[in-house]
């Protein structure tokens, strides 16, 4: 079996495993309440369970496994990142934002429920993330809990994901250059991917000055991920993606692909992935899953 086939096997089983674990964990965290809050929790479950590739939880768990972190703890922390990711998708899909009807191949939350429930389910998943990070079964060490919270709060707020989202909203009129598109994507997509790796390191008690290689890895796959998204937006299949594509083009937004062209963008994504894998050299075979995940990020078809 060649290297790519081995990597594909490792990755396929790892993805299936984390998808099941994330679903089970959210199921346990979100029992249906016996009062009028039931529709809210039902909406949170609709958004959090049974959808998405779970790239962020897998990144976190794969990083944590380098340092022998307890699996349940890492899955919990992965669910915290995924709760933030899920809330951001709910709010992004709202009519006043991207106005999307389809997500993960099913109706978006405000279509399946209503807009008010969608706003509040997003807000509640946002709060749930920080609830999860301060549970004793995520970490029994308050120092670790606090560092996890700080990392995720900074990655998701105005200095991270939400900031990137606002830069993206202004993209149509701002005519960004490559430097600005890179900055936008580092915040919008990169911050949460980087936080996933960082939180794995935090759980693994890697001191900040020992995190440079993993931070390099996370930075490179973050950009590669977005270039791949831009390529899929142009070339992808809507049915497979489970969401509307080719929206950037219609809006005349600058993306990596419009600025670099398809071929150069694809070459750049591949170069970034090889660079990302290079950062893992010091971890040897233990980092095979992170390497496979990096390659999956540019090769995926949805």
């Amino acid at each position: 079996m060649g290297l790519v086939a081995v990597e594909n096997d490792i990755l396929k089983s790892a993805l299936l495993r984390i998808q099941a674990e994330v679903d089970e964990t959210f199921d346990a965290f979100l029992p249906a309440p016996d009062d009028a809050r039931a529709p809210l929790v039902e909406a949170m479950r609709y958004a959090a369970i049974g959808g998405g590739k779970r790239v962020r939880p897998l990144l976190l768990v794969a990083t944590a496994s380098l340092f022998g972190v307890d699996r349940e703890a890492a899955v919990n922390a992965g669910c915290a990142v995924e709760a933030i990711h899920a809330y951001s998708l709910i709010h992004d899909d709202l009519p006043c934002m991207d106005d999307d009807d389809l997500r993960h191949g099913k109706p978006t939350l405000h279509k399946a429920f209503d807009e008010a429930t969608a706003v509040l389910a997003g807000d509640s998943l946002h709060a749930l993330a920080f609830d999860i990070l301060t549970r004793p079964d995520t970490s029994s060490d308050p120092f670790v809990q606090s560092e996890l919270v700080r990392c995720l709060a900074l990655a998701s707020g105005h200095e991270g994901m939400a900031g990137g989202q606002v830069m993206d909203m202004a993209a149509e009129e701002q005519n960004y250059d490559l430097r600005q598109v890179t900055r936008l994507q580092q915040l919008k997509t990169g911050a949460l991917l980087a936080a996933s790796v960082e939180m794995g390191s935090i759980l693994g008690r890697v001191p900040p000055d020992g995190r440079a290689p993993l931070r390099g890895y996370a930075r490179d796959i973050g950009l590669a991920f977005q270039i791949a998204d831009d390529l899929l937006d142009i070339e992808g299949d809507e049915a497979r993606a489970g969401k509307a594509l080719r929206k950037d083009e219609g809006q005349g937004k600058a993306t990596f692909v419009t600025l670099m062209g398809i071929d150069k963008a694809r070459a750049q994504a591949r170069m970034l992935v090889e660079q990302a894998v290079g950062h893992l050299a010091g971890y040897g075979d233990d980092a095979a899953l992170l390497a496979a995940l990096a390659r999956y990020i540019v090769e995926r078809d949805r």
Copy 2:
């Protein structure tokens, strides 16, 4: 000078002081960025600075002062609670929720900016709360930071404020009885008020089994606060309130006032306040501000 006059003096200067401190702290936490995120931070500042009575930060600071907590630390934690309160008002005011045009006497955020910016500014203030709680100048002790985060996350999510909000949305069709309205309000308004007092106790390193009197105080003022709000909604002056009133009535929603009548509701609020003040007996004169704040909550005219 009678007791009420003294209390009024204590309270008036305490409110002015905390209002200035909260504004200064948010001003310091939210410098304008030098990129396309500027409108987002401007919107966060619009919502967080210069509006609101700051009852929650004052509750937190007044509780913390019973235990000699550093003032800056308590003000920071108060700003975290206020950031959650501010985000909830932004999202509640959205067209898909209460569709309000006026808040604190000025246009609501989605009117002054736009809906997408309002959603994201709310989300960013939500994240900012947890950023603030894990800053070293809020607490240098990770155990305290983690307990603060956990308290605020639980109070604001589906088991707290957002859960109460969904119960409130269902109120028109559900025809709640007094027990259900009480439960709704304990979540919608009470959870964050109680968290303010609890977080003051956490900063003061009061062990959980020593917090019963303050929890009793918080529970009672939480309900009194909401009854007072219901009374203001019926009897208040829109110009003073700085927001639209008499909306519950028009929607046929069950409230404390519709279920109990105006006179009995007012008597109940006063009884709750005296009961709340009774819980403070063990703290003697040190608790004068908390007592004054309890009385203010039912006597306020906005």
